[in-house]
Every structure is written in structure tokens, then in C-alpha cells.
Amino acid sequence: MTISLLVGTPKGAAVLSSKDRQHWTQEFVLRGWPVTAAAQDDRGRVYAAVNSPNYGVAIFASDDMKQWKQLPAAPRYRPEDRGNPEHHRIVAQMDFTGVLKDGGRFVDQIWTLHFAHGALYAGVSEAGLFVSRDRGESWQPIDGFNEQPGREEWPPGFGGLGAHTVLSDAKDPNRMWVGVSAAGFFRTDDGGKTWTPKNDGVNGDMGQCVHGVTCNPANASILFRQEHRGVHKSEDGGDTWQVMEDGLPVGELSDGHRCSFGFPIVMDRATGRVFLVPLESDNFRYPKDGKLAVYRSDDGKRWNAHTTGLPANCFTAVLRGAMAADQQSPGGVYFGTASGTLYGSTDTGESWRELSTGLPRIMSVDAFVL
């Protein structure tokens, strides 16, 4: 058994592999392609999403994470789909030729790939959800999500209007969740036909800017959520949320609200432990006082900092997709920084060590068993 990490950057992906999680080899693959997300199917095949600002979005697949082959299709909106004006305003910074002025909707990034119940899902920006039921050979839009009333008025986050989180329920193939910056968190109970916002109890004074959500698909009624405006937990599948920040560093947001700000949130399913990397509010976006720390909780009621092996003079960030758990025993957890350093723990977060450095900005980290 080999644990392999796919570390996505704007210049390709680092693949770190190890049989004992102590000694790692590293290769750099998909060179020249910004790699933004990855997932593994039930046959062990790994899918990596790329998004070039010049040549669009595509998906590559590999059985060994060394040889990659581009799949013939990728998520795409229909020609007649109309886009969100505010999202266009943000992404139009790269629109040298002005084609966005006509308002067409297009996929400019795949934020997440998720495999569940025999299907591969893609959460994209401009915010939408797509599914492939033939392992990436073709893609279909999930209209129940993509054509929700009012979507044209959804407010984009700082990075645009992106569907960055897709979660599933192992017991119920009709139940899924999707998180959109900054439109909020949605759930379907009918296989994607209809979707309901699930933000009750989350402070939405400045919009519903969900940053990340995690759960154990085998017990998916319990959800942990890192919001722009703090850390929350739900014990009823997202119907209601409670702030859970005891022990977390709290900072003041630009509007005066005090909460624990950050992006990634992952779970070690065997223990139920949840991991965060808080940052010093939205004005600063680096670890509090420059002390890089991973916070861990067994149930959300109390969080504890774990800093062994992490730098105490660190003024970078960890992006929302840049943290993963390998779901082994004991649990391995890995995260990468916006300044290109990858850290790992093989004792469920007790201690950390640097696994790689000198990488470009790390946009995604995913852990797979090959």
C-alpha cells in the first residue's frame, strides 16, 4: 500500500508517495497546468482538475499518478446559460478581449471533485454542480442546483462565485450538500432536483460566505463548518448550526465581528477528529502572531493547538482546498501553504514535519491510497 499526496499548484502538481509515511519520494506532474482539485474513484483511479486561464478547464486521470491522460470532456455550461454579473466583474480582470460583456456563463475553475455512489461530481465557478456517471467521459449539469431561482443575484466571494465544497451521505444517495462562496450552504434530499439553503444559526450579516465544510459520509448528519464568520457545528444535517470556537483564536473582522477566521477544515473519520488552521481575521490572513498552528477537536466543544514541528515565524496562509486526511490508522493529515511548503502529521495531528518546500503556491492537497 502506498499513500500518495497530490499537491496542486499554479504550475503543476507535486506527487509525494510513501509506503511508511516516513520516507517520501516526490515527482512533479501535469507541468504547466494549474491543478486545483482531485478525487479518487472506487477503482483507485485518480482524477485531477486543471484550469488554465488560456486553455480552459480540463480533467486528467491516472491509475498510478505518474502517467496522466486528459479526459475528452469537462464540465461546461450550455451556450444559452446567462452568467452572474458580479462574478463576471471579478473574472473579467483576465478578459483582455471583452467577450464577457455578452454575459455568457462559463466554467473558469473546478474547485472540487467528489466521488460518491458511483458518480464523479465537480463543483465549479461560476458556481455550479456537474456530474459524470461514466468516470469523466461525459458531464451533465445538475440543473436543480445550477438554475436555482435567484442565483443571478448570488454574491461572489473574493475569489469569485465558486461551488467549492461537495459532500455526500454514504447511507442516502439522494442527500448531498454543496457550499458556495458567498451564497451559502445547500442541501438536497431528492437526488439534486431541489436544494434548500442550510445556514440557520450562522451569522449572515455580510452574506453566507462558507469557506469549508467536512463530515464523515458514514455519519453525515454531523457537519463542521469553517465560515468567514467563524466555526460552526451541525448535528442535524445542516438544519441548524451552533458556533463552536472554545479554544480557537478569535480575531476582529473588518466589520467588527469577532470570530475564528480560516479556510480549510478536514476530518479524520476513524476518530471523528476535526482539524483547522485559523488565520488572523480577513484583514491579515496569516496565523495569529505568525505562529503556525493546527487546531484539533474531538467533537467541536473544545479546540487545542498543535504546534510541534510547525514554524513560529510564519506569515502565509493555508487555502481552503490545501488540507487533507488520509483516513489511515493512525490518521495522517497534510496541509500546504500559500508560500509552497507542505507539512504532514502521521499521529493524528499531535506533531508535524515539513514534507516538501520550494513549491509554488499550494492550492489543493488530496491524499489517496494506491
Binding site: 507541468r31 504547466g32 480552459g56 480540463a58 456563463r105
Partner: protein, 91 residues
């Protein structure tokens, strides 16, 4: 008419490492459509959802700069060389 198209490095990986490919057409847009028909993996890299040539692709047609909107109608002739590159960004 047949022209030679030089691919950018990232698209060569999609084409098994080929630096150049041959295609037919009387405009740059027609050449891209012909290439996409021959090699379907290239189609999503050339055209967006509205079938526009992707906005940041820039062409050198026998050394003459042609941007995406003009490529729709930019005429070419047999034996021309078209180089695909991208709009410069950053310092």
C-alpha cells in the same frame, strides 16, 4: 488548404508531445475547428461555452499577431504557419 499549427507546450502534453500538427481551413477559426474534429481533446481548450475562441489565446499567423476575436475571420492560405500562444500577463 493545409497549414501547420505550432502548439503551446501545455497542449503538446495532450497530443503525445507533438510540437506541430497539420490542419485545414481558410480562416484561423476554421483551422481550429478542423483540429478539434481530428483531436477532440483539443476542442475544450480552443473554444468556450459560447463557441468563442478562448479569449486569452493569441495567434501568430506567419509572424503577424492576431487576437482571438479577429481569428474568427482572419484569412489564411495554403502552407501558412500558425503559432498558438497566449496573452502575456504578469511581469
Amino acid at each position: 488548404m493545409t497549414v501547420t499549427v505550432q502548439l503551446p507546450p501545455v497542449l503538446r502534453t495532450v497530443m503525445g508531445g507533438a510540437r506541430t500538427v497539420e490542419a485545414e481551413g481558410d480562416t484561423i477559426a476554421a483551422v481550429l475547428k478542423n483540429l478539434a474534429a481530428q483531436h477532440p481533446h483539443l476542442a475544450l481548450h480552443f473554444f468556450d461555452e459560447q463557441s468563442n475562441i478562448r479569449r486569452n489565446i493569441v495567434f501568430l499567423s506567419n509572424g503577424v499577431l492576431v487576437r482571438a476575436p479577429q481569428a474568427q475571420t482572419h484569412a489564411i492560405k495554403d502552407g501558412d504557419e500558425i503559432l498558438l500562444t497566449n496573452a502575456l500577463a504578469g511581469g
